[in-house]
Amino acid sequence: MAFEPDSAAEVVIEEETKGRGGRPHGFWKFLLAVGGFVLTIALTFLGLLAITFFIGRVIPIDPVLAVVGDRAPRAVYEAARVQMGLDQPLPIQFIRYIGSVLSGDLGMSVSTGKPVAQDLARVFPATLEMATLGIIIGVVLGVPMGVFAAARQGKLADQIIRVVGLLGYSVPAFWLGLVGLAVFYARLKWVGGPGRIDIFYDGLVQPVTGLLLIDSLIAGDFEIFMNAVWHLILPASVLGFFSLAYIARMTRSFMLDQLAQEYVTTARVKGVPERLVIWRHAFRPILVPLITVVALSYAGLLEGSVMIETVFSWPGIGNYLTTALLNADMNAVLGATLVIGAVFIAINKISDVLYRVLDPRAR
């Protein structure tokens, strides 16, 4: 499954950064740039809110009926309608919607009976834990693979890494998760089964951060820590495979660009050992674009976790979203969509800023 952010979006980043050639000449220009940037982010978030609001409006389920039931008398129905603000014109409803989202009110979940915001805060750490381990696996394996492939361009190793990269675009994440469970859990018993932890240990650790690995260490319970790792390793590896595929592909492409540069040829002609040419001369300049790639890939994993969490019954935001979808729990669906979308946009924009700050040419 391709968790690659749209390449068209990357082109946009490049166009923008290229367009801002030269240092800003004064404080005002800098302020203007920051102001413009903040405005873009604000507009993007507004767009996101507009999408979720629109989806909330077009649903065939009548939100009033969901509250009062279909036997309610006309007067009760009307009163509920007015109380929910649904008698107001759409623009006013939209402004109210923005207001309530900004104050952290995402409505009540029908299936859990709790506020959606509270639910999301509870499930988010599980997703964060899995995606973070996933991206670590992706970077630790993907970057060397990409460099290696570029160094052996056209050889067998390069071809194999290329096919692995393309597999990252053509294997369904949920299927890979299921096959992983069948092989590594059921047959080989190398890893733990679905869920974050064995039922036996459930609830034994005091939640501090919500991240089981850290909480169990704080509690000093090494047994629970190992059990959590045991459960986490397979879903994180499956997620890691997809970020690995993307990171390796991009690293290879960046490296090939650098290796074709004249200064690399100069270094080689001067007799610098090939290992140094690759890691010192060619690799260092690609670090900055790589950071952007890693950030984008991290945002993509958030999306990928929806499928993986469903397969592994992982109590994270993805699982929460799919459960809500199947129960037609619209507040929960829209709340989860909003949070995932907002984090996705935030990571994208942060990587954009990082790129501009770190790359002198983009300033």
């Binding site: 082109v11 993007t44 999408i51 649903i59 053509s170 945002a299 946009i345």
Partner: protein, 301 residues
């Protein structure tokens, strides 16, 4: 005595038809030089043939239940085994190719023209039209595609038509971006000025002179996107929001096989192989097409 080949490769074609066929022939020739692209083309053609002639490939009925043959492992009789209702998995995978093909074609037919028109109009007119259209496009682009599709299916209700609409809604923005970039490079060329000076209307310039030039990069992009569309559709089917049972959709089949994955692995695994092979085929073909049709955007080899 000019052979057909000479006629096709003629440097100065005497008719539009000859020029077009010659160009097609050259693309075809360079594709043949790329083994992965050929493999991809074979897979895609295989998918189409299988979908069209599904009854010929299937050994059983895709819906006929046979409870005495539940969950049988792959054998000479049932090549991919049977599922929990005794249905032949191979036959279901074969008929599932029809659903996959329909989804992929409909998404392409819905999303590509919308993206093409939005992008071309945005690029050609510039100014406020451009800012507003691209602002909307960027908002959609900044959302994760799968989440967007999920949210729209949630609103529209589960089912294969709604899944197709939702995927199309999530897909069109990247096409708009590409069409706009292409239009910007074409807009200021001399032949466009010439057409404009001859008094062609804006509509005519866009439809007759700009859109045709955007199509080749669009074909590349759509082919490359096919894998993603197939995976999203299968994902929706897996969650239970796409094609509904008893339709033999591959994602939904994997979802049914989920309960038996530990003991009867073939139920969930077999349709997955079909998805992987078809998606890889589109990836290979798309990569090859990009190298041929769009060398400037080609991956640096």
């Amino acid at each position: 005595m000019a052979s057909t080949r000479d006629w096709l490769l003629d440097d100065s074609p005497s008719s539009r038809l000859q020029a077009r066929m010659g160009r097609g022939y050259r693309v075809f020739r360079s594709l043949l030089g790329n083994p992965l692209a050929v493999l991809g083309a074979i897979i895609v053609i295989g998918l189409i043939v299988m979908a069209v002639f599904a009854p010929l490939f299937a050994t059983h009925s895709p819906t006929a239940q046979n409870l005495s043959m539940r969950l049988m492992p792959p054998s000479g009789e049932n090549w991919m085994g049977t599922d929990e209702l005794g249905r032949d998995i191979w036959s279901r995978v074969v008929f599932g190719s029809q659903i996959t093909l329909v989804i992929v074609l409909l998404v392409a037919v819905l999303a590509a023209p919308v993206g093409l028109v939005v992008g071309a109009v945005s690029g050609y007119f510039g100014g406020w039209v451009d800012r507003i259209l691209m602002g909307i496009t960027d908002i959609f682009l900044s959302m994760p595609k799968l989440i967007l599709a999920l949210a729209f299916v949630a609103a529209l209700g589960p089912g294969i038509q709604n899944a197709i609409i939702a995927i199309a809604i999530a897909t069109w923005p990247s096409y708009a971006r590409i069409a706009r970039a292409e239009t910007l490079t074409i807009r200021n060329s001399e032949f466009i000025s010439a057409v404009e000076l001859q008094g062609a209307s804006r509509l005519r310039v866009i439809v007759a002179h700009i859109l045709p030039l955007c199509t080749s990069s669009m074909i590349v992009r759509v082919t490359l996107d096919m894998a993603g569309i197939i995976l999203t559709a299968a994902g929706l089917g897996f969650i239970g929001l796409g094609a509904q049972p008893p339709l033999p959709e591959w994602g939904a089949m994997i979802s049914r096989g989920r309960s038996f994955i530990l003991d009867q692995w073939w139920v969930a695994t077999m349709p997955g192989f079909a998805i992987v092979i078809v998606s890889l085929g589109f990836c290979f073909l798309g990569d090859g097409l990009r190298d041929v049709l769009d060398p400037k955007h080609g991956e640096r080899q």
